[in-house]
C-alpha cells in the first residue's frame, strides 16, 4: 500500500447473496489523497457494489479494502458505520434529503454520527450557512423544508451535507443525472470549488465521459473490475 493512497483495494471480491447471484472482483484500485477520480461505467457494471465496499456498508468476502489507512475488515459493523460517518461524505443520484427535515437539519445530520467531524467545525450551523452560501443557495433557505426545494437546490444541499466537517473523502454517485446541462455544469463548478478548498479526495461515478476533463483521473469500471453473473 503506497503511503499517499487514501483508498486501496487489493483482490477485493464480493458476492451478493440471494438467487440473482452477482459477484464483483477488483484486483487493484488505488486513489491518491486529494485526487479527483471519475469512475465511468454502464449500469450493472458494479459501480454501486464498489462504492458500497469503499463505504463499508458491505464487507469484501476476500482481499482487502483500506480507507485512509484503515483496513475495513478490522472494524466491527458499528465501527464501520462510525468510520464512514467520519471519513466519507456521500451524495446520491437524487432524493438525497429527508424531505420532512429542514435544510439545516439535513446538512447537520452526518455530524450526529461523527463526533470528530462535529468537533472540526466549531460552529456547525454557521458552517452550514457558509457552505450554503458558497454553493449559491439563496439566503434564508436554511430553515425551509427540504421537500420544498428544487432538485438542483436539493443536490447542492447534499453537497453541503457531504462536505460539512471536512471529511477526507467525497463519494458522489451520479449527482448530476437529474439536472439539465446548464445546471449540471454549474453544479460541478460549485462542487469542485469546495472540494479544492477542503482538499477532499473525490470519487464521482458517472456514465458521461464528457466530464473527464474536470478530473485528475478517469477510470473505467471495466479496467479495474470483473463481474461474474450466475444464472441459478
Amino acid at each position: 500500500m503506497s503511503k499517499d493512497s487514501i483508498i486501496d483495494l487489493k483482490d477485493a471480491r464480493f458476492r451478493w447473496p440471494g438467487r440473482a447471484s452477482f459477484a464483483l472482483s477488483v484486483p487493484e484500485f488505488l486513489v491518491e489523497k486529494g485526487q479527483s477520480v471519475l469512475l465511468l461505467g454502464e449500469s450493472g457494471s458494479g459501480k454501486s457494489t464498489l462504492l458500497s465496499m469503499i463505504c463499508g456498508t458491505i464487507l469484501a468476502d476476500s482481499g482487502s479494502v483500506s480507507v485512509n489507512g484503515t483496513d475495513l475488515k478490522t472494524l466491527s459493523g458499528w465501527s464501520r458505520d462510525r468510520f464512514r460517518a467520519e471519513q466519507i461524505g456521500v451524495i446520491f443520484q437524487q432524493f438525497n434529503l429527508l424531505p420532512f427535515g429542514s435544510v439545516t437539519d439535513n446538512i447537520l445530520l452526518p455530524l450526529k454520527f461523527a463526533p470528530s467531524r462535529r468537533k472540526r467545525c466549531h460552529n456547525p450551523s454557521r458552517q452550514a450557512a457558509e457552505l450554503c452560501q458558497a454553493l449559491g443557495l439563496p439566503e434564508g433557505i436554511a430553515s425551509s423544508k427540504a421537500a420544498n426545494l428544487s432538485v438542483g437546490q436539493q443536490q447542492r444541499v447534499a453537497v453541503a451535507r457531504a462536505l460539512i466537517g471536512a471529511p477526507p473523502i467525497l463519494i458522489a454517485d451520479e449527482p448530476t443525472s437529474s439536472l439539465d446541462e446548464l445546471a449540471q455544469s454549474n453544479f460541478l463548478d460549485l462542487m469542485f470549488h469546495q472540494v479544492a478548498a477542503q482538499e477532499t479526495t473525490l470519487i464521482m461515478v458517472s456514465h458521461d465521459p464528457r466530464l473527464a476533463d474536470r478530473f485528475d483521473r478517469t477510470v473505467h469500471m471495466n479496467d479495474i473490475a470483473t463481474i461474474q453473473r450466475q444464472a441459478s
Partner: protein
C-alpha cells in the same frame, strides 16, 4: 435533532399516523373507562351500607336478603313476626336495631317503613350518615322523608302531599291516607335516594282497612280513628342490627340462625356484598378482557401501519445509513417513532376519558346511581398508560427488525 427528525417523519405521514394515534387513544379511553366504571361500581357497591353488623330477615338466601333489604331489588318471601323481632331486640349483645318494612310503593319508588333510629344508624360510604337537604325527620304519623332522586324525579318539595300505592306497580292506592313530605335527604348514591321513608306505624295505619292485599269493601276508617288505634307492627321485613362488641357478631349471627321459634337468617353485610360482587364481577372481568383486546388490536394496527410504511421509507433509511447511522440506530429510530405514536395515543386517550367523564358523569349518576369521581389519574391508571406505551415499543420491534434487515441488505445504494 434526531427526535425532531422522528417527529418530522411522523408529521410527514400525519394522516396515517393520526389515524393510528386515534385508534390507540380510543382503545385506551375505552379501557380506562371500563376500569373507572368497574372500580366505581365496586366502590359504590361496597359503600351502600356500612356500620351495620348484621342484617336479619326471614330465612332465604343471603344474597336475596341483601338485595331486598339494602338494594330494594326483588321481594321478601316472608316476613319476620313482631314477636321474634322483639325477642331479638331484647338480646343483650345488641347495641341497636332498626326495623325495615317493605312492600308498598309510590310511583316507581319503593316505600320503606322504619323507625327514627334508621337515620341515626344507617351509614354508607365508610360511616357517613344520612343528611337532610331540607326538612326534618318525620314527626307525624303521616309524615314521610323522601330520598334525593324521588324528590328530583317527581319534583316534590317539603309539605307536598303524596299517596302511597299498595304493593308494587299497583293500582290499588291508599288514597284515604295521604302523606306529607317532611324532609328530603341529600344525595347518597345509595338506594336510599330512591326510597320513600315512612314510620313503621304509618305502614300499619295505611293497612288498617286492608285484608290480605285487598281493600275491604265499604270500610273506610277515618284518619282520626286510625290515630287512636294501636299501630304496633305485626311484622317486619328485615332488621339492621348493630352489636356492642364486634366479637359478639358471630355468636349473635349463630343464635339468630338457630332461633327456634321461626326460621330466620342473619347475614354479615360485607360478606354478602362480596358474594354478590362475585356474581356481578364475572361480567365485569369479561368487559375488562374485551377492552384489553381492543387495546391489543389498536397496537397491532399500528404494527401493520409501520410495516406498510417500510417500503416507501427505504430511501429514508438509506440516507440515514449513508450518513453513518448503524442498522441498530435505524431499529431504534423506528421504535422511537412507535413509542412516540403510542405515547400520543395514550395521552390523547386519557384526555378523551376525562372529556367522556365530564359529559357522562351526571348521566351515569342519575341513571344508575353510580358516581364516578373525576380526579387526577391514579397510579394504576398511569401504569396502564405506561404499559400501553411499552407494549407499543415491543410491538414495533417486529417491523423495526425487518427494517434492520432491509437496511443491512440494501446498504446505502438503494435506487428508488
Amino acid at each position: 435533532m434526531i427526535l425532531r427528525l422522528a417527529f418530522g417523519s411522523l408529521l410527514a405521514r400525519a394522516l396515517t399516523v393520526g389515524m393510528t394515534i386515534l385508534a390507540i387513544a380510543l382503545s385506551v379511553a375505552l379501557f380506562l373507562g371500563v376500569e373507572k366504571i368497574r372500580t366505581g361500581a365496586k366502590a359504590s357497591f361496597a359503600d351502600t351500607i356500612s356500620g351495620t353488623d348484621l342484617i336479619v330477615g326471614a330465612r332465604s338466601g343471603s344474597v336475596q336478603l341483601l338485595l331486598y333489604s339494602v338494594f330494594r331489588i326483588g321481594n321478601a318471601t316472608n316476613n319476620v313476626t313482631w314477636e321474634s323481632y322483639q325477642d331479638l331486640a331484647n338480646r343483650p349483645e345488641l347495641e341497636w336495631i332498626v326495623p325495615i318494612s317493605l312492600g308498598d310503593s309510590h310511583r316507581q319508588f319503593r316505600v320503606m317503613g322504619t323507625s327514627a333510629a334508621f337515620f341515626e344508624h344507617y351509614k354508607y360510604r365508610q360511616g357517613r350518615s344520612l343528611e337532610f337537604g331540607i326538612g326534618v325527620v318525620m314527626d307525624d304519623l303521616f309524615d314521610t322523608v323522601i330520598g334525593h332522586d324521588v324528590a328530583q324525579t317527581l319534583g316534590y318539595n317539603v309539605d307536598d302531599p303524596i299517596v302511597v300505592a299498595h304493593g308494587l306497580a299497583s293500582f290499588a292506592k291508599h288514597k284515604d291516607q295521604p302523606f306529607r313530605v317532611s324532609g328530603i335527604l341529600e344525595k347518597t348514591g345509595t338506594p336510599v335516594d330512591r326510597t320513600v321513608i315512612v314510620s313503621m306505624q304509618a305502614i300499619e295505619a295505611i293497612h288498617v282497612d286492608w285484608q290480605s292485599g285487598a281493600k275491604t269493601p265499604g270500610k273506610s276508617t277515618p284518619i282520626d280513628a286510625i290515630r287512636q288505634m294501636d299501630l304496633t307492627p305485626k311484622a317486619v321485613t328485615a332488621a339492621l342490627v348493630g352489636v356492642k362488641s364486634p366479637l359478639k357478631t358471630f355468636s349473635l349471627q349463630r343464635a339468630i340462625n338457630e332461633y327456634p321459634e321461626e326460621p330466620l337468617l342473619a347475614i354479615l353485610p360485607g360478606v354478602a356484598l362480596q358474594e354478590l360482587w362475585g356474581i356481578v364481577g364475572i361480567a365485569e372481568t369479561a368487559l375488562l378482557a374485551v377492552s384489553m383486546m381492543v387495546v391489543v388490536t389498536a397496537l397491532i394496527g399500528m404494527m401493520a401501519t409501520i410495516f406498510s410504511s417500510l417500503n416507501e421509507r427505504r430511501r429514508e433509511m438509506a440516507i440515514f445509513r449513508a450518513m453513518g447511522a448503524s442498522p441498530i440506530a435505524i431499529l431504534g429510530l423506528l421504535i422511537l417513532e412507535a413509542t412516540l405514536t403510542a405515547a400520543a395515543g395514550a395521552v390523547l386517550g386519557l384526555g378523551l376519558l376525562y372529556v367522556g367523564l365530564f359529559i357522562a358523569q351526571p348521566l351515569i349518576d342519575s341513571a344508575f346511581g353510580l358516581y364516578l369521581p373525576i380526579e387526577a389519574p391514579a397510579t394504576r391508571e398511569l401504569l396502564v398508560l405506561v404499559a400501553v406505551i411499552f407494549a407499543g415499543a415491543i410491538v414495533s420491534m417486529v417491523p423495526a427488525l425487518r427494517a434492520y434487515r432491509l437496511s443491512l441488505a440494501d446498504g446505502m445504494m438503494v435506487r428508488s
